[in-house]
Subunit: 242 residues, 2 copies
Amino acid sequence: MTYCVAVRVESGLVMASDSRTNAGVDHVATFRKMATFSASDRLLVLLSAGNLATTQSVLSLLQQRLHSQHENLNNVSSMYDAACLIGHTLREVTERDQSREGREAGVDFSCSFLLGGQIAGDTHRLYNIYPQGNFIEATDDTPYLQIGESKYGKPILDRVIEHHTELMEAAKCVLVSFDSTIRSNLSVGLPVDLMIHVSGRLQPALQYRFAEGDPYLVKLREAWSQGLRQLFSSIPDLPWGL
Amino acid sequence: MTYCVAVRVESGLVMASDSRTNAGVDHVATFRKMATFSASDRLLVLLSAGNLATTQSVLSLLQQRLHSQHENLNNVSSMYDAACLIGHTLREVTERDQSREGREAGVDFSCSFLLGGQIAGDTHRLYNIYPQGNFIEATDDTPYLQIGESKYGKPILDRVIEHHTELMEAAKCVLVSFDSTIRSNLSVGLPVDLMIHVSGRLQPALQYRFAEGDPYLVKLREAWSQGLRQLFSSIPDLPWGL
């Protein structure tokens, strides 16, 4: 599995992905699930979940076509068109690769993407591109999107993230959300790649990989874990004896 | 959906279930998912998740057969045999009810149960009975079991529950686990039924229904929510500026 989350607040974007892939439990590997496409007038970041062969093929085609005459991520004129193009490429790959034999063997060829970024002249935007190639956009009311193993880490996002949340606070919340997920699900693992985009700047304001033993992450996880246990002890006990 | 959790610690059992059922989003209803079978020498509590027609049929058959000559929940000699009998009854109902038409229409006839309790002469035990009728038992290493919408509420259980956790602390943790689930998933809702069994007593030590507006639950949810936000603010910020 995978866990990716992206937050779109007023002042920019926070995007993060884990890097564990597995086919069964005895074929576990590390792959970066964050891909960045940048040019002078644009910054596009993709997070991917699902079948690794499919996501890699989609990214390779998007990359390979960057300098073609046709529509590509370097020349699309809006984030909306970028989402369309990625959805289209995703359909192209799944149609090519998913055979009847594969489906009958229970192989799931599907994948999904979170696309965040900004193209000069427009604001920063965030999309969730479904396995079918269609997509939704994050709004002020729903400022975060997740793909992959999303449930363990959702409660803290629900409590903290709002449209006016500050970027660094959103980033901290995203890391706590990863901590809960990694603790509860073996198929999500470090390193975690984090990207922060400040609206208006067309280069990432921060790009960082949190590996096992990262001093800040260790501090965060300890403080959160210890704090949670303290908080749990401090909240009112049930009003009955046994 | 549904959320049920059961904890088996050294001193007894804590079991809890929500009471929302839904078929789609426009057919939402309230059903108790906790059923108690007790006699002078035994206490058996069942929590159920899945197809409501199936769970109700299984429970009706178990109830109806209580005074039959054959094996039933009043005369089985161990919790293990009770789990076998429930698994057997579950298979009987799904085999009877699941038609090809139903499967083709995408109806999921399956359900699962958590069975906790104690029969005189043995210790308290806890089982997860799968839709296929087979089952696993909770052990000292894995002291809690969940069925239904289990992921949102798992992180806090993972952090708090151990074999030596006290019963009332386990009960508080279970309620926090429900709070996270109810906040993040519309298909899980109040009232929550809670049962506490103290090992050796063959009557529930506590049975209580937490409805909307319950004073303790309101206090707990507020304290937890406010405490989480405070804790979140207090843990170290990322060590970089933007």
